[in-house]
Symmetry: C2
Subunit: 254 residues, 2 copies
Amino acid sequence: MSLKSDKKLEEKKYRQETGLFMLEGKKGILELLSSSYEIVRIYSSLEASADIETALSEYKTRTGHKPEVLIVAPHVLESSSTVRSNDAGIAVGKMRNLATIDEALTASLSSFVLVLDDINDPGNLGTIIRTADWFGITHIVASKNTVDLYNPKVLRSSMGSFTRISLVSCDIEDFLKTAYEQNIPSYAAVLDGEPIIETNFSQNGIIVMGSESHGLKPDVLPYIKKHITIPRYGGAESLNVAAATAIMLFSTKR
Amino acid sequence: MSLKSDKKLEEKKYRQETGLFMLEGKKGILELLSSSYEIVRIYSSLEASADIETALSEYKTRTGHKPEVLIVAPHVLESSSTVRSNDAGIAVGKMRNLATIDEALTASLSSFVLVLDDINDPGNLGTIIRTADWFGITHIVASKNTVDLYNPKVLRSSMGSFTRISLVSCDIEDFLKTAYEQNIPSYAAVLDGEPIIETNFSQNGIIVMGSESHGLKPDVLPYIKKHITIPRYGGAESLNVAAATAIMLFSTKR
């Protein structure tokens, strides 16, 4: 293994072949070290290694995993990075198995589960994961066309929150249909629903957000009990999906 | 003028030298054509030109401006673009004068004005502008270290909302001090304020958001009347600033 070959993990193809993913930057490495993810290798600059050392020793004791640590010159790290300034390092970890539909359904009985329909922008998905984590969500159900969780930009913009979220990847129509038949409360953000101010959210259930460009697939709408809207007061045609998700999740807590 | 030289407008330096900016993609061009911005030139693919034609003719009649239109081969456009798929075109427009502190103060007497302290990420600024526009905000006051409004990524992620927002660039401490002395209501999102659910927002005033990494400068805190917090329910260390802004602006409307 080398930094050059591990760098290929930026691409989904290589992640699928190896079962591994990469995370850049000191902050990212420290986030991964504070999780229970299995870390295989850490490439670190000499400068960053002292900070990483303490977290690494705690990580080894706690998890029993023993990542290999390789010291690399900063300019080598920088040239292998998708971000401009990466003088700290890169961690390579094992991807986790996705969660199951049953686990997400169970989670929706006691708290909220977020369902995403074809979110394509990695920055949006990362921000949504971070926001969901802030509001105590543990399970996200994503349609098959949603951008890959282990895309480096998703991981980076999730700011470590991906380590605390269980993701299900499935046909969301199947998931929503099952939830509907089990009478689990569900809420979709749409353009022509009831004003969100008037919605009394239950204590648990499902929040459904549509894609950046096409909104929610019409096929899934009949399986969502409440259609709600964030009223518009100005000129913008729509809200960014991560901004709308933040408002939806915040509203469940009022 | 050529596409090659206009492409330099991606850089702030060339925008400052020429007073011009560029906007990519058909959607961007149509947004600009529906505004009152002065458009100097439009580079368009033949394919996109038909769609642009109608909007262009309306634009000419309404504004009196007569942009030059140049038909360019799609592969030439694509190679001159910061985005991967740009088969539609590029518009070059004249940057507007910024708004004044007095204009923003006047706006804060009848509606909300948003104040941004060193927002560095162009995607965040663009999303914040779009969200502000959705909630009917017309004036944003940005600290001098906030990323440039005419940065192509800001324009793109604002989805046309930049054409409806007046921006003031100034020392925000001066602005907030003046507003404080004039007894204008002001609210800052901080980590240790009163829970936002308990806040009764007035009908007008100022919402202040801090930078992605450092939050609000401590110097400005004494000049903001209410310090409020979006409560955390999960593991994330913080919220993305655009997500937090969405929740703050939504909360002013409850």
